[in-house]
Symmetry: C2
Subunit: 73 residues, 2 copies
């Protein structure tokens, strides 16, 4: 889950500023998040459908968040 281009990333900006104050030549910092979800499902199709739903119902803000979904068995 990462911010859509053009959206302010306050955590990244504060981190970049702190790193510059420590003397590092940092151009930018962008922070994104991984939710590693273990779930029960009858098939990979069902799992994918449920995770898509979870994203729009709870995890992602459609105005500012982009996301990709990756599966492991």
């Amino acid at each position: 889950m990462s911010l859509k281009p053009g959206h302010a990333d306050p955590e990244g900006e504060v981190t970049a500023r702190s790193l510059r104050e420590l003397g590092y030549r940092v151009r930018s910092v962008k922070v994104s998040k991984i939710y590693r979800i273990e779930l029960e499902a009858k098939s990979q199709e069902e799992a994918r459908a449920h995770v898509e739903e979870m994203c729009w119902r709870l995890l992602a803000n459609p105005v500012k968040d982009d996301y990709i979904i990756v599966f492991e068995r």
Copy 2:
């Protein structure tokens, strides 16, 4: 950046509970973070050394955080 095994992940636990309340059969949720840092360096070796330093000086908590560093040019 992810939590070391055995460390409580309150954000993941709250997310898992909320997803269960929405009806999903979620076993667990673990949250980790990616810092995408654009920095200036003379070589990949210098960049790696600086990022290692940034981790222990600012980004990671050595008691609870594990991290891996990945480079792109």
